[in-house]
């Protein structure tokens, strides 16, 4: 609550915060907000320009683009959130045990993260989702894997510093079980840096999902996913410019909102890293 | 006495950040004559460094608010001068030595180059002359192998050596005033004396006036002719060093001296000052030291002015008999 109040105080993050609320609202209530069905084709209305009936025009199957963008909010933002949370959860788990247990397990895990980091993010996501087969769930998995090393390393660093504190050393001596120590002492210390990292990553994940969709590796038709919509819309770029343009603007706005919020949260919780 | 090198009158300033304001200095008075070494003493947070930085206008402009007083350097009104005008004084007329020699030098430039650029900045020397000047400047601060040192990076030098380099840079343009802000605090005890002697010698040779800032009364006692004692941004006492240290008038100065370890009397316990440092966001109306003062009485609810007790020895305390109002 206090964090939200601080976010609102800065005019830069205030705008972003209210936009975020709008995005969340649209995502949650999208079925109620779409003026037309985002899925059903209406061939007689195909490729209409923007007007008062169809704010953003219609696509090649006569579907209302405005409705598809609204429906796509849930898909694109939801999948991005899912991918990052999954990555954070698994990465934190692996990383804290790696740091806590140490020895060769730690070595193996750390070298594995090195290997994953040897690929540019997008290239690895692309190869993984190609290998898993094109679908939106696989795209989410690919993104979760790509982001995994960051969370693993973050968690490991924290786990290492915590496990050297006197308290945990004492707990170890008394034979307290490792899972208990990890849960009670390592996880709470991790929360702040992990939350900061998650908030910084969501925007990037939305971009990645959209990019994979654009390259034909993410959501498949007729799912109203933003990237895939632009991929199809590309064919109509020069004559029906509104088709890919509005959809792209939706991605841009969503990502910039998440990025500004992410920066804001980082500055709040981790002032050193910010300025 | 000839014209003063530095005269600070009634200086008050505060740091204003979003929503909060802290009064850092209140009615500070300080003056330095030509060639004179004046000490400024006080514990950390007393506003010593702020005073020093204010003289060169090096405080962060966005938050610093001057509310009263003046700083006059060699007849120049610093506070009324523009940044460009003050920038011309820095390094040329006012030299600066900071506390932390480990971080005071640019880590990615050789010692020689750093000195070279300072020298070129303040003189009309040609490149060759300036390079020769680098040598002599290093020799003057008693660095034994200047030809080696000038090609080294700061991390390759000890703290004492670095501080010598910093002094060489500060003295390069032969300034009228040298401000040394805790120049020995970060150094080993054995090196401390060398650095202090060096500063004193250079000041004497060049006729440079020095403002020596320290929390260490021992340092002040050995080097300065006069001393000003600062507490929570206010001058509580000021006068000739021997006078102030031997016969401190203000209860704070007395407590400060008592808290020094006394070599002659090993068995006595060190005294600490009871109570807490005041909250500068809410500077009290009355005497700033009253909450911790053992001699507090009714009068202390009004702020005491700095008054002359005797022979240039001034004190801001109601409990002290003074010759003038």
């Amino acid at each position: 609550m206090k964090a939200i109040r601080q976010l609102i105080r800065n005019p830069f993050t205030r705008g972003a915060f209210f936009s975020l609320c709008v995005i969340a609202f649209v995502g949650i209530f999208s079925p109620l907000l779409t003026p037309y069905s985002p899925i059903d084709a209406k061939p007689e209305d195909r490729l209409l320009p923007p007007g008062h009936l169809h704010y953003f025009g219609t696509d090649e199957l006569g579907r209302d683009i405005f409705s598809r963008i609204i429906a796509g909010t849930r898909v694109s933002v939801g999948i991005a959130l899912f991918a990052i949370l999954l990555s954070a959860l698994v990465g934190t788990f692996i990383g804290s045990f790696s740091g806590f247990i140490g020895r060769w397990i730690d070595q193996v895990i750390m070298r594995s993260t090195d290997v994953l980091l040897a690929f540019p993010t997008l290239v690895l996501a692309l190869a993984l989702s190609a290998a898993l087969g094109p679908s939106i769930v696989n795209a989410a998995l690919a993104i979760a894997i790509v982001k995994l090393p960051i969370y693993t390393r973050l968690a490991r660093t924290q786990a290492l510093s915590v496990s050297h504190t006197l308290f945990v050393k004492a707990a170890k001596t008394f034979g307290v079980s490792s899972p208990w120590i990890v849960r009670r002492h390592i996880v709470p210390n991790l929360l702040t840096p992990i939350i900061v990292q998650i908030s910084l990553d969501i925007g990037d994940a939305i971009l990645l999902i959209a990019t994979l969709g654009f390259l034909g590796l993410g959501a498949q038709p007729p799912t109203p996913e933003w990237g895939a919509m632009i991929s199809t819309g590309w064919n109509y770029l020069l004559d029906q410019w509104w088709y890919p343009t509005f959809t792209g603007a939706a991605i841009f706005i969503a990502v910039i909102v998440f990025n500004i919020i992410g920066d804001g949260i980082r500055d709040l919780l981790d002032p050193k890293a910010g300025e | 006495m000839s014209e003063l090198v530095l005269e600070i009158k009634n200086l008050s300033l505060s740091f204003d950040t979003q929503g909060a304001s802290a009064s850092i200095l209140k009615n500070v008075e300080l003056h330095i004559g030509p060639g004179e070494i004046v000490g400024l003493v006080g514990e950390s947070g007393s506003g010593k460094s702020v005073t020093a930085l204010a003289i060169s206008k090096l405080l962060p402009t966005q938050i610093t608010k001057f509310s009263s007083g003046s700083i006059v350097f060699n007849g120049i009104d610093i506070l009324a001068s523009s940044e460009t005008e003050v920038a011309k004084l820095r390094g040329k007329r006012i030299g600066f030595v900071f506390q932390e020699p480990m971080t005071a030098l640019n880590p990615t430039m050789t010692i020689g180059k750093q000195l070279f650029h300072v020298i070129r900045r303040h003189s009309e020397l040609t490149k060759t002359e300036a390079l020769a000047k680098v040598r002599t400047a290093l020799e003057e601060v008693l660095i034994s192998k200047p030809e080696v040192v000038e090609n080294q990076y700061p991390f390759q030098l000890s703290g004492g050596m670095r501080q010598r380099v910093v002094i060489a840079m500060a003295m390069a343009a032969n300034p009228t005033l040298l401000i040394a802000d805790e120049p020995t605090t970060a150094l080993d005890v054995t090196v401390q004396a060398e650095i202090l002697n060096l500063i004193a010698k250079l000041a004497k040779d060049h006729g440079t006036a020095v403002l020596l800032i320290s929390h260490d009364l021992g340092v002040i006692a050995n080097s300065c002719s006069r001393v000003t004692v600062l507490y929570a941004g206010e001058v509580v006492e000021s006068g000739i060093v021997s006078e102030v240290l031997r016969k401190p008038q203000h209860p704070y100065t007395q407590a400060l001296i008592k808290s020094l370890p006394d070599i002659a009397d090993r068995d006595s316990l060190l005294e600490t000052i009871a109570g807490e440092f005041p909250d500068l966001r809410n500077r009290p109306e009355g005497c700033i030291y009253a909450p911790r003062c053992p001699k507090k009485f009714e009068a202390c609810e009004v702020r005491p002015m700095l008054r002359i007790a005797k022979d240039l020895h001034s004190v801001a305390c109601w409990a002290v008999e003074t010759t003038e109002k």
Binding site: R111, S112, D114, V115, A118, F119, P120, T121, L122, V123, L124, L126, A127, A130, A131, L132, G133, G203, L207, A210, T211, F214, L215, G216, L217, G227, I230, L237, W241, T245, G248, I251, F252, V255, F258, I260, D263, E275 | S56, L58, A87, K88, G91, K92, G95, F96, F98, T103, A104, L105, N106, T108, M109, V118, R121, Y153, F155, V166, M169, A170
Partner: protein
């Protein structure tokens, strides 16, 4: 220095070994079965089996891996399903175009990004700072393909100033290969029309690709500049009366560059990733276009070949960046 290189090379071998395992797993274990793509729709069991035998897919995994590794070691990335040509040769043919695009984008990004980052830090919390930061946050948030799209709509469709695809107009013949960079080759070739045409083709793709990196660079340089500006040595420099410009460049920026270069180097890798999208958008005949075509054609070996090459390039670039940082920092150089 030598010891550092040796340690880094050892690390590089381990990482590349890991990279080979990952690409192998992706190609051979994950569900996207390459034989299915080869055999076409509704294959008979016999066709599948014969393909499996042909590609050695019936052998146990470790045997397959060793074969794969030895092929990699000899620079053999396999055969493309679509073209039946060796993938190594195909990628090598597309490589210069990608390198040209990425290099120009990178130079644009640092050439504009570093000064903007410095200005934002020096003028912290002023109007210019806010504008630059907004510009930067836009860069990390804009979908590359959408940025390209808007540029095409404006500069090609609306204004007709710039071409929207390829490296060169079709009626012009490509310059004689010297470096593989068209704009350099065209310059040496001496044909002014070709040179200008090449530059026009470069503008939009390199700007679109460079903007993202520029944004990263601005943010990084701004934050390490702010750090450097608050250091004691900067105050000493000011107290010694050094000029503002000199202090900003030789005191602050020189020190801020050390942490920045690591990040800037890493961002070069994401340029390689971004090239995939940019090349697709602008129909740029490079490795990225090659890989998206391979994705559409379900050409699995080609995708994995591309992945290996990019990972190798990325790892080598990071090694070079590390060495650069070490040589910039006097403390590690000695």
């Amino acid at each position: 220095m030598l010891r550092l290189i040796r340690a880094r090379l050892a690390m590089l071998v381990i990482v590349l070994f890991g990279v080979s395992i990952i690409t192998f797993l992706m190609a051979h274990v994950l569900p996207g079965d390459p034989t299915a793509a080869l055999a076409g729709p509704h294959p008979s069991q016999e066709t599948l089996n014969s393909i499996r035998t042909q590609f050695g897919l019936d052998k146990p995994l470790p045997v397959q891996y060793i074969k794969y590794l030895s092929n990699l070691f000899h620079g053999n990335l396999g055969t493309s399903i679509r073209s039946q040509q060796p993938i190594t040769q195909e990628i090598l043919a597309f490589f210069p175009a990608t390198l040209e695009l990425v290099t120009v984008a990178f130079l644009l990004a640092i050439g504009i990004g570093i000064p903007l980052g410095v200005i934002a830090a020096v003028k912290k919390n002023t109007f210019s700072d806010y504008v630059i930061r907004l510009f930067a946050v836009g860069g990390v948030s804009i979908p590359l393909f959408w940025g390209g799209l808007v540029m095409i709509l404006i500069f090609y469709a609306k204004l007709g100033w710039l071409p929207a695809s390829g490296r060169l107009d079709i009626e012009l013949s490509s310059p004689e290969t010297i470096t593989g960079f068209y704009f350099i080759d065209a310059l040496f070739g001496g044909d002014k029309e070709t040179f200008i045409n090449v530059l026009k083709h470069l503008v939009m793709p390199s700007l679109a690709l460079g903007y993202v990196q520029l944004a990263f660079i601005v943010r990084q340089v701004r934050s390490s500049m702010l750090d450097a500006l608050s250091q004691d040595y900067y105050l000493t420099g000011r107290a010694n009366g050094l000029s503002h410009r000199f202090l900003v460049v030789r005191y602050a920026l020189r020190n801020a560059l050390i942490p920045s270069i690591t990040i800037i180097g890493l961002s070069f890798g994401s340029l390689l990733g971004g090239a995939v999208v940019t090349e697709t958008v602008f129909d740029w005949p490079g490795m990225g276009k090659y890989v998206t075509d391979s994705i559409l054609g379900r050409d699995f070996p080609a995708i994995m070949g591309f992945t290996v090459v990019i990972a190798l390039a990325y790892v080598i670039i990071n090694l070079l960046v590390d060495l650069l940082v070490y040589s910039l920092d006097p403390q590690t150089r000695k």
